[in-house]
Amino acid sequence: MTAALSIRAARKAFGGLVAVNDVSFEVKQGELLGLIGPNGSGKTTMLNLISGALPPTAGEILLDGRRISGLPAHAIARQGVSRTFQLVRVLPSLDAEENVMSGAVFGHVRLWGEDARRVARVMLDRVGLGERAHMPVAAMTYIDQKRVELARALAANPRVLLLDEWLAGLNPSELQIGISLIDELRHEGRTIVMVEHVMDAIRSLCDRCVVMSSGRMIAEGGVAETLSDPEVVRAYLGDDDA
């Protein structure tokens, strides 16, 4: 079986700075992969290479065996890659339902009219915002905006969902809600790549994780073994604690 997503020697250089340095890994169908590492290690850049926000300098990225690297972001979205953003990005002049519809109208499924509206409703219910479908998103709390963003990504029925620190900035009770929501998505069989700093979430949610440091992949495997890998500990905490 081909992997849902294959990253092969992906590289991104900004002038002399190599943000992603020949990283290779695979994400299996229905797997939740955690992409972790200290700040500035290249995780978000990696996600940007997958979603097409940035073109890779070298290497290739395959979705279900088909090359998507080098395509513009909108073409990659139509192939079935959806994402959320590190700093939440909602469409401020629209209400929640219209925000979510944008995912269904232009993305992987391309619905229109009532069909798109129906999907938007289902997705808003899914993230627990069914009651607030017509609320302007600009008036929403941070977690609700994050929910709208997630619903928008899900409305495209993506083959791969990319979450960029979706749990960051939530308070402890919101975090519990967020974690159980992602857990449900995992049990539905979604293929997810999650960039995350919240270790509790990584331990309880991820099937596997990939650890990056200074642009390189330094470890890959099951969560418990990877997190106890001496090199990973060193990357996070420095030499003395290893």
Partner: protein, 320 residues
């Protein structure tokens, strides 16, 4: 997006009614009032076409004169050999192609660069036409002799305005319109939900350019003698921007609110103070940007919101 709401049906009906009433004007007057009304519908058509693209994208285009002039010249060059309706179609095609080329080259650049480029483009086209005419023909301009009267031009411009309105309305309800709303909100999100942002903007710019060129083609017989300084007059580009901003671009009918008073005032000024027109235009521009940045329609909406608040403030302030 779906079936018509009752408000939309009312709006469409009202629009049709207004156009029908306006169409009666030449029956009552064929002098001053008709002449100023031609100016009003001309700028109504130009402003709504301009706002069709610049409203949702926030790209300020100063290429109006280029499209307008190309439309005028399409008629000027072809009037002796081709039927007039065909010339209108050719003008639309030339305008759309020009807009497509400009769009492909410039819509990736943003903000002030786009403004400068479009302005430069209009001047370039004007210089090219002037150069070609002096090089290859003896006259500076072209004669356009037709049977058309001021009334005919008025009716055609009115019909064009109606078509532009209807097109804007249909686009707003289409996938393209929704795409433009998303782009206007956040272009990064737009790309990542699967919108080909460059393509959407180019299509819209082409539609807008085609309509402006048709307006130029319809107005051509009015000039009788066409030459580059009048057909590609940069003043047209500026006036369109000022009037559209005065009205406000958020609503479909916004530009109209700016066009009618401004055209009347402009006419008054250019007939009474012909040497100071530019100063007045400049002052008007400053006043509009400072005093009513969201246009008259924005002002009306603010007042409406304030009125609502005043009507029902008690609910929020009551202690639980």
């Amino acid at each position: 997006m779906m079936g018509l709401t009752s408000q939309e049906t009312k709006g469409l009906g009202l629009g049709a009614l207004l156009i029908a009433i306006a169409a009666l004007l030449p029956l009552f007057d064929d002098g001053f009032y008709l002449s100023i009304s031609v100016n009003i519908v001309l700028y109504a058509a130009l402003c709504t076409s301009w706002a069709l693209f610049s409203g949702p994208t926030h790209y300020v285009s100063l290429a109006t004169a280029a499209f307008y002039g190309l439309g005028t010249y399409s008629v000027g060059l072809g009037i002796e050999v081709l039927p007039y309706p065909l010339l209108l179609a050719i003008a639309a095609g030339v305008g759309a192609i020009m807009a497509g080329l400009v769009g492909a080259a410039t819509l990736r650049i943003s903000g002030v660069y786009f403004v400068i480029f479009t302005f430069g483009l209009a001047e370039l086209v004007r210089q090219l036409v002037t150069w070609t005419q002096t090089k290859f023909s003896t006259a500076m301009g072209l004669y356009v002799f037709t049977e058309m009267t001021e009334s005919h031009i008025y009716w055609m411009l009115l019909a064009l305005t109606g078509v532009v309105f209807l097109t804007s309305f249909l686009i707003a309800r289409s996938r393209l319109g929704f795409a433009m709303t998303v782009i206007g909100n956040d272009e990064t999100v737009a790309r990542h939900v699967g919108i080909d942002t460059a393509r959407s903007k180019i299509i819209l710019f082409m539609i807008s350019g085609a309509f402006i060129a048709i307006a130029g083609a319809i107005t051509a017989p009015r000039y009788i003698y066409i030459e580059p300084p009048s057909a590609f007059n940069p003043m047209i580009s500026f006036l369109v921007v000022i009037m559209a901003l005065l009205g406000g671009t958020k609503r479909l009918w916004g530009p109209l609110v700016g066009v009618i008073p401004f055209t009347i005032v402009m006419d008054f000024i250019s007939s009474n103070f012909p040497n100071h027109t530019m100063i007045v235009v400049g002052l008007a521009f400053l006043a509009i940007v400072y005093l009513i940045p969201h246009g008259v329609t924005g002002l009306l909406e603010d007042m409406q919101a304030r009125w609502k608040k005043r009507a029902a403030p008690v609910v929020e302030e009551k202690p639980a």
